[in-house]
Amino acid sequence: MKGNSNLEKELVDFIMNNKDDFYRLAYGYVKNSSDAIDILQDSIQKAISSKNNLKKEQSLKSWFYRIVINTSLDFLRKQKRVVVVDEETIQSYSSGINDHYTNIDLERSLEALPPKYKSVIILRYFEDLKIEEVAEILQESPNTIKTRLYKALELLRIKMN
């Protein structure tokens, strides 16, 4: 068993070293900077106050990822946000010269995925985690993750065409 202060130091170092990844992960769900910061702060607080529940065999990484994801999903659930964009806003995105229509389509299609599909895509392909690690984070079997990944890719491809 690690001592309490050792564990805390390890956790703090870990958070400091990976803060950019965690911010991006939260941003990937909520798509806005101030909400992503809130989520990161909440997640840090949850992690530090419950660090003693971290099981020995569990990796710090997958444990913290899970906290960030659950906090993000909770936030989205509370928000149930509807994205309403008026004509003017759309115009303001369009610079005329460097139109990025395809980018918007791509982003939207990832946005349009239900959270559970989005999570597997982010963790597997953006965070480069192994199937087993994704399974541990999402608390599902590796087979379920594979099924989901398969379906998520299929959904993305359909919508991108």
Binding site: V12, Y23, I44, Q45, I48, L106, E107, Y125, F126, L153
Partner: protein, 291 residues
């Protein structure tokens, strides 16, 4: 890696970081550490105890209602007998217990109602147990939603569906059905409906055909059968059980039901197959229930 995926990935990776992220994170860590001086454990325990609201609607009018409505006296029906609810930000439970009433066969009525009550009490107890074990860890999310739906209620049959939706990280759904012959007042089962066990193979064959047809027509559908050519290993659907979930729908057709994850990936949800009556006529005991 796929080009489109590559693009999504770079968009994700290139999200601009706030300038003061380092400071934000340091502050958050600092605040979290100083907060621990409070006796967190006992406070958490107190709120947890105060939060569980159990509203038990044991309706005292339930028994009376039978005699109060003379018109309904002879009509077998289903009512909500009692409800359990937990309503707290990360823990939600909504459990409705059905009860059948007005059966002359009181043994059947009682055994059904006791089964319903027991099932749901167990569900509720397990839910509470899970919450307290979660509380001991880092806390978490749990939800359970259980209730019933009358699938068919005609002069001959009453089919009741009971569902349980468990939500942890994702959700799973379990269904159970009871179909009652209202005239004879007996509980129907697949073995009662058919002359012999040959119904299993006949129904299996039909379901597999339906699965293949659906997959051919709609690419987004996947069933776990060898014909789906899946590139991952999973136990394929082989056969229904002798007492597979079933009900008889309003059109007197036999409907076979599979729980979420039973024969297909989770996004397919609960799946049902209506079995065409013409392939069953030779093996049915009579044409009373299924037409």
């Amino acid at each position: 890696m796929d080009k489109k995926l590559e693009k999504l990935r770079s968009d994700y990776k290139n999200v601009p970081l706030p300038n003061n992220l380092d400071e934000i994170v340091r502050n958050a860590i600092h605040r979290s550490k100083s907060r621990r001086r409070f006796p967190m454990k006992s406070i958490a325990g107190l709120t947890a105890a105060a939060i569980f609201v159990l509203s038990l609607n044991t309706s005292p009018t339930f028994a009376k209602s039978l005699s109060n409505f003379p018109v309904l006296r002879n009509v077998v029906k289903v009512l909500t007998f009692t409800e359990y609810t937990v309503n707290e930000p990360t823990y939600k439970a909504n459990i409705k217990v059905p009860a059948v009433s007005n059966l002359k066969n009181k043994d059947l009525e009682q055994s059904l109602n006791q089964k319903y009550l027991k099932e749901n009490q167990k569900l509720y107890d397990e839910f509470k147990k899970e919450i307290s074990s979660l509380e001991k860890k880092s806390g978490g999310h749990l939800g359970v939603d259980s209730g019933y739906e009358v699938k068919t209620d005609n002069e001959n049959i009453l089919s009741i569906e009971r569902y349980v939706v468990n939500t942890v990280a994702s959700s799973s759904t379990t269904m159970k059905f009871d179909t009652i012959d209202k005239k004879k007042e007996i509980l129907l089962s697949l073995p009662i409906l058919f002359k012999d066990n040959s119904y299993i193979d006949i129904i299996n064959k039909n379901i597999k055909e339906q699965m293949i047809n659906q997959m051919n027509q709609d690419e987004s559908k996947i069933y776990w059968i060898p014909e789906a050519n899946l590139d991952y290993s999973i136990d394929p659907f082989v056969s229904i059980t002798e007492n597979q979930n079933f009900y008889i729908n309003k059109d007197y057709k036999l409907v076979i039901s599979f729980d979420k994850y039973e024969v297909a990936p989770g996004y397919m949800g609960v799946v049902e197959f209506i079995i065409p009556t013409n392939i069953l006529t030779n093996i049915l005991v009579g044409n009373h229930y299924i037409k």
